[in-house]
């Protein structure tokens, strides 16, 4: 699956975005084609790990026992352009448009979940 390479990079705490070799468009989530030009020659490139909070919400009721509310769900706009759904971690308060940088939350299988913290 196309997404496997993206997740594999998280084992090394590397955040990647997919980039089109033909038109340079960056996208997330990974796809088998470029949403910029329709091309299929795509590669995973390292992201800077910096971005800004597009928006966020404090979730007060967990959707399942796997989550413990409250937690801060957010759309983070990466410096490379694409938007990630993620968590904001560390002390708040949070505001739209504030700068954040990637941090990593370990998963049981060795991969990591990218989360974001204040970029002081």
């Amino acid at each position: 699956m196309i997404e496997d390479e993206w997740w594999a990079a998280t084992a090394d705490r590397r955040l990647t975005v997919q980039r089109c070799r033909a038109c340079g468009h960056a996208q997330h989530y990974p796809r088998e084609l470029c949403t910029g030009c329709g091309g299929t020659d795509l590669e995973f490139t390292e992201a800077s790990g910096h971005g800004t909070v597009d928006s966020f919400t404090v979730v007060h009721r967990a959707p399942s026992p796997a989550f413990q509310a409250p937690y801060v769900l957010a759309r983070v706009r990466l410096a490379e352009g694409p938007i990630l759904l993620t968590h904001l971690t560390g002390p708040g308060p949070w505001a739209c448009d504030e700068p954040v940088r990637v941090g990593w939350r370990p998963l049981p299988d060795g991969r990591h979940l990218p989360v974001f913290e204040k970029d002081a």
Partner: protein, 380 residues
């Protein structure tokens, strides 16, 4: 446009104990009775949310073999989309009498969950579910947060949507909150926080419910018992399923669906006498009013203030009490059409908008995913 709505009805609403097909049957028989059309004359069916093969399922249940069906699954916007497709099919001669129907037993069946219904193979499951978003609430919550930030609005301005909806519901005996008494902005802000900045009172109801409308050619409609409600124009826009696919949370597809519908109808937003706008959440309405061009981006919070959208105000909005206080059976778009039809016929009792000639119904599906606008007019 040469197609009209000639029948409209609700099923039982609220907590019914009825099944999906039972509610569908109620809505269908009542709408056909309203139109004065026999079941055997129906040759087109559009519905969703029944089963995997929704329109096929309904055809079997009704014992008919339609020449046209549509089971498009697009959440709450599907029914406004069905109006467009039905009008095209009738105009093209593929069918002559279409039933657009819906029924949901979600409250009685307790089938609604905060996390939504995930499908493991989708990018949403792979890249979003690990973060535990509430679906769809958290997406609308992020849109609301962005709205408050970008335009300097306050939560009490969002709350006005719920407060006004309650005022209308107090005039509608069929509303779930009829008799519940008025709601204040302070009540909305003090309700349990679900996904900030949205409290439980910023969120639509979870109820059973359903409805049906009947469409046929305007020529035939004029020989039927009810005053025809003419389909004047429609427009759609489909934008995203993921929570990250839309670049700008404050410019949803209603900006495009509305523009398309008004262009087709040759009308302006100022021509609309009564608007039925999907109110899944309070923020949905502010964004949709801006998208449809009733006010400029960033102005909806001010536009709805001062009682303007409440009963007696100069912009009658969600006159049945809306999904917030009347009924929200999961996909509310059909009931927007029912109320628009009743307003244009002058049948809305205590909540009737005087001399309503042009009505707008706007459906929104998913997480601001799909948008469909329909303009309807009285045939006077």
């Amino acid at each position: 446009m040469t197609v009209a709505i000639v029948g409209a009805a609700e099923s039982d609403l609220g907590v019914t104990g009825a099944s999906i097909l039972g509610l569908q049957a109620q809505a269908i028989t009542r709408a056909l009775d309203d139109a004065g059309i026999a079941l055997g004359a129906v040759d087109g069916i559009a519905t969703t949310g029944v089963s995997r093969f929704s329109a096929t399922q309904m055809a079997d249940y009704l014992g008919i073999q339609p020449s046209w069906t549509d089971s498009t699954f697009a959440g709450g916007s599907a029914f406004e989309m069905f109006v467009a497709r039905a009008a095209q099919a009738i105009d093209a001669g593929q069918c002559s009498t279409v039933l657009i129907t819906f029924g949901s037993d979600q409250r009685s069946a307790r089938s609604r969950s905060l996390g939504g219904a995930g499908e493991a193979h989708t990018p949403e499951a792979i890249f979003e579910a690990p973060y535990g978003p509430l679906f769809p609430i958290s997406y609308y919550a992020m849109a609301a947060q962005r709205y408050l930030h970008a335009y300097g609005a306050g939560r009490e301005q969002l709350a006005e949507i719920a407060v006004a909806a309650r005022e209308w519901a107090l005039l509608n005996p069929k509303a779930f909150r009829y008799g519940a008494g008025p709601l204040t902005a302070a009540d909305v802000l003090a309700a349990p926080m679900i996904s900030s900045p949205l409290t439980a009172a910023d969120c639509c109801l979870v109820t059973d419910g359903g409805g049906a409308v009947v469409l046929t050619s305007l020529e035939r409609a004029r020989d039927l018992r009810r005053q025809p409600v003419v389909v004047l124009g429609y427009g759609e826009s489909t934008t995203n399923t993921s929570m990250t696919g839309a670049d700008d949370l404050l410019r949803p597809g209603s900006f495009d669906s509305g523009r398309r519908a008004f262009a087709m109808a040759g009308l302006e937003p100022s021509d609309v006498d009564v608007a039925e706008v999907y109110d899944s959440f309070t923020i949905t309405v502010l964004l949709t009013l801006e998208g449809l061009g009733f006010c400029a981006p960033g102005e909806a919070a001010g536009f709805v203030a001062g009682g303007r959208i409440r009963p007696g105000g100069d912009f009658p909005l969600n006159t049945n009490g809306g999904g917030l206080s009347y009924c929200h059976p999961g996909q509310y778009g059909l009931l927007l059409l029912v109320e628009a039809v009743r307003q244009l016929r002058g049948e809305s009792g205590d909540r009737q908008v005087p001399d309503a000639e042009i009505a707008l119904a706007h459906g929104t599906g998913g997480i601001l995913s799909s948008h469909a606008t329909v303009l309807l007019g009285a045939d006077r």
